[in-house]
């Protein structure tokens, strides 16, 4: 008995993670009722899950349904827990892991304000055209661009604007939908 009481040299709960974190996009169909966003966000903070991006808006008015798109980075086991915990929320109808199901479209919109004069200004416009960014506001020394696309494209555009006089950026967060004819 006493032999068993020697320190084992191993701590529990602090086991080494075996898998690498993955970035997944979850689509959550919920009742558009008061407090639902707080409930979802609170679930993530209470259980120590990450949110990289979150968008929410009503999508089916007559049924009172909203779609929430959440991007989270976690290990596969935790991602499974996130999905199960979301499904447990009373007002949640469905949870789909779009990354796991494959074949999904992901889009984001950003408004990018760039200030500059002379050669920089010309270069800014040229790049904007290449990225299919629209000019939605202009002054003598600034532009506001509207750009949509995959988050990587938007990040690339923003990175290019930094040396040309980037002032500020707002992003909507990601909206995602599955390809093909299937409905969530």
């Amino acid at each position: 008995m006493i032999d068993n009481l020697q320190p084992s040299g191993s701590a529990y709960f602090i086991t080494k993670p075996t898998a690498e974190p993955e970035r997944h996009t979850l689509s959550v169909l919920v009742d558009n009722e008061p407090g639902i966003l707080a409930r979802i966000a609170g679930l993530f903070s209470a259980r120590g899950f990450n949110i990289d991006s979150l968008t929410v808006s009503e999508t089916e008015h007559e049924k009172g349904l909203s779609r929430i798109t959440i991007v989270s980075v976690a290990r596969p086991k935790v991602l499974k827990q996130i999905k199960l915990q979301l499904e447990r929320v009373v007002a949640v109808h469905k949870v789909h892991d779009l990354t796991q199901e494959g074949k999904s479209l992901e889009r984001e919109l950003a408004l990018v304000k760039v200030a500059g004069t002379g050669e920089n200004r010309v270069e800014t416009l040229r790049l904007a055209e290449a990225f299919r960014a629209q000019v939605v506001d202009a002054s003598i020394e600034s532009f506001v661009f509207e750009i949509t696309g995959r988050p990587t494209k938007i990040e690339q555009f923003i990175a290019l604007m930094v040396p040309l006089g980037l002032v500020e950026v707002v992003r909507t967060g990601m909206a995602a939908i599955s390809r093909g004819s299937d409905k969530m």
Partner: protein, 613 residues
């Protein structure tokens, strides 16, 4: 033909009359205030008792309570007491416990009990008053963001902004609280909604919800696979939990039958005690941190673990990476998120325990006509060897009362009675679980998940309300019991003869034990200084007080307590520095237990284990 109608005519007339009257009544009773709707909905849900405390924001509801006598209101002394009473009531009956409190402090005081009910999956509906809707958000008197505060400690909650929503929400609250994995639901009702007139209706289909659909029937293929594994296992064990009790009395009966059929040994969590009778020879005792040696060793060495309605809590598993390393794990749970949360499960079955157990029994009968006691005989023999370690032994004394002895004597004295036990939290709770033999489900009420000191006394009040003729005993510690002591006065007011059996060692015993284990016996703030004279305290509140410090007089004192027709505070003076053993220390595995003969427990836990709770 004519005569036929003539014969029928009087009956038709009577029927028509009844029909008209009932229609007229429906019309009359349909229009009512929000406060009346709340009481009507409670009646329609067959609620007989509610636990509550009045205040400004619930006055209309209390006025409605005053004008009826079907629902009995138990006036508490603090809202936390109301929630624990509702928990005790719910857990001992299987019904939903109902709480009614006012806005602001009324709601915040209820938070501990709501969290407790969430962690232990207890069905509860808590109706809170709220300031009138136009005032919400203005920092009005006794306003708090009740739905915001209770969002993370309820299964679901509602703020009722319109009278039209009230009837639906009330019935939905009961459905959500009691179905699936049960839990607490808060309905926050602003005062103007309580006054507003509206049409009351009981939804025709109160047991359906557009998005909430608990999964009750287990997958048949998975259940069959489980039975096949059970038919092959050499070292099987049933590991059962509170889910079996929540699933109803039939689930406990079916568990007993399946154990009888299979011949497998059974262990249970704290929350599952009573689902399987302690007197049965297949019973191994509770498992986990303060579980028996045989239960924990069997969990560690088994080759098939059949987990039914338990959730692999950290008090159960010990060191996770050394938890039952060589077993196939079957997990039956109604909550999909419980599967694989901490421990990898090989065969998950999502469904209601009772239904899954029924299917398991049916399939076992189809596939085999005998128990496997013979085939697993070597395993049962190994278990018997572990039993021989007698991990619950203790050194008795004839000078001082040992707490374990006190519980054994209490169990002996109450054997012939219908006895319900509640506990507070700490050493006495573990001793109750170890030394009190539970034979029936719904007879043991304790705060398992949250570990709420102060749970037991109000829970005993709730149990006694539900079972007026039963013997209800709160096995308590002198520190815990002081947290909700004032509810003793509730027991006096409603003539509830609860017995509070305090194992008084003048320490917060479990805190002291951990300080001995981890912190060089520096008993920081764990001595119960300035204790009240419990006998005088009981008398001051209108009950009876008994004190005993002599093992020879204990039986008589217990008899005196049980024979008294009224609430009793029993101050049982026990040995001060008794440790609760056996114990799996933090950072250790199931096969690394501290047994009662360990002399110096201060050197058992290593540095890494010390950071764990």
């Amino acid at each position: 033909m004519r005569t036929f109608w003539l014969l029928l005519e009087p009956f038709l007339l009577v029927e028509l009359k009844v029909y008209i009257i009932s229609k007229w009544e429906m019309k009359m009773s349909k229009e009512m205030t929000g406060a009346e709707m709340i009481i009507k909905a409670l009646k329609d849900q067959n609620v007989e008792h509610i636990f509550g405390y009045p205040g400004g924001a619930v006055l209309p509801i209390y006025d409605t309570i005053f004008q009826q006598d079907e629902i009995k209101h138990i006036l508490v002394r603090h809202e936390q007491g109301a929630t624990h009473m509702a928990e005790g009531y719910a857990r001992s009956t299987g019904k939903v416990g109902v709480v009614l409190v006012t806005s602001g402090p009324g709601a915040t005081n209820a938070v501990t009990g709501l969290t407790d009910a969430l962690l232990d999956s207890i069905p509860m509906v808590c109706i809170t008053g709220q300031v009138p809707t136009p005032l919400i958000g203005s920092d009005a008197f006794q306003e708090c963001d009740t739905v915001g505060i209770t969002r993370n400690c309820t299964k679901h909650n509602y703020l009722v902004k319109k009278i039209e929503d009230l009837p639906r929400i009330l019935h939905e609250a009961f459905y959500i609280a009691s179905s699936g994995r049960p839990g607490p639901v808060v309905v926050d009702v602003p005062k103007d909604v309580q006054f507003a007139l509206g049409e009351y209706y009981k939804p025709a289909n109160a047991t359906s919800h557009k998005s909430y659909k608990p999964h009750l029937n287990g997958d048949l293929g998975a259940i069959e696979a489980a039975v096949d594994l059970m038919l092959k296992a050499k070292k099987p064990i049933f590991y059962t939990g509170g889910g079996v009790i929540n699933s109803g009395v039939e689930a406990s009966e079916n568990l007993r039958e399946l154990v009888e059929l299979s011949g497998f040994p059974v262990t249970s969590t704290l929350m599952g005690l009573g689902a399987f009778p302690a007197s049965n020879d297949k019973w191994l005792g509770m498992l986990g941190m303060h579980g028996t040696y045989e239960a924990n060793m069997a969990m560690h060495d088994c080759d098939l673990m059949i987990c039914i309605g338990a959730r692999f809590d950290d008090r159960i598993t010990g060191r996770l990476d050394a938890f039952s390393p060589d077993s196939i794990k079957i997990h039956v749970d109604i909550d999909p998120s419980s599967i694989g949360k901490t421990v990898h499960v090989d065969l998950p079955i999502i469904g209601d325990c009772n239904r899954v157990l029924e299917e398991m029994i049916r399939l076992w009968r189809e596939k085999s006509n005998q128990s496997r006691t013979g085939e697993i005989a070597p395993w049962l023999k190994t278990i018997d060897k572990w039993r021989d370690v007698k991990s619950l032994r203790y050194e008795n004394s004839d000078e001082i009362i040992k707490p374990q002895f006190a519980i054994q004597r209490l169990a002996k004295a109450t054997k012939e009675r219908d006895t319900y036990i509640t506990t507070e939290v700490g050493q006495h709770q573990m001793w109750a679980a170890q030394y009190f033999p539970f034979e029936k489900p719904n007879h043991f009420m304790t705060s398992g998940g949250l570990g709420t000191m102060g749970y037991g006394l109000p829970a005993a009040v709730g149990v006694q309300v539900a079972h007026p003729d039963a013997t209800v005993i709160d096995i308590a510690g002198e520190a815990s019991v002081q947290m909700t002591m004032q509810e003793f006065s509730t027991a006096v007011q409603f003539r509830l003869p609860i017995k509070i059996f305090i194992l008084n060692n003048e320490y917060m015993g479990m805190v002291r034990q951990w300080q001995q284990l981890l912190h060089g016996s520096r008993y920081s703030q764990s001595y119960s200084e300035s204790l009240p004279d419990f006998v005088k305290l009981a008398e001051a509140m209108g009950g009876k007080g008994i004190r005993c410090d002599d093992p020879a007089k204990l039986d008589d004192a217990i008899k005196e307590m049980l024979d008294f027709d009224g609430p009793v505070l029993f101050d049982c003076r026990v040995s001060k520095e008794e440790n609760c053993l056996p114990m799996i220390p933090s950072g250790k595995a199931h096969n690394e237990m501290i047994l009662p003969d360990t002399k110096d427990i201060g050197n058992v836990i290593d540095e890494k284990g010390k950071i764990l709770v």
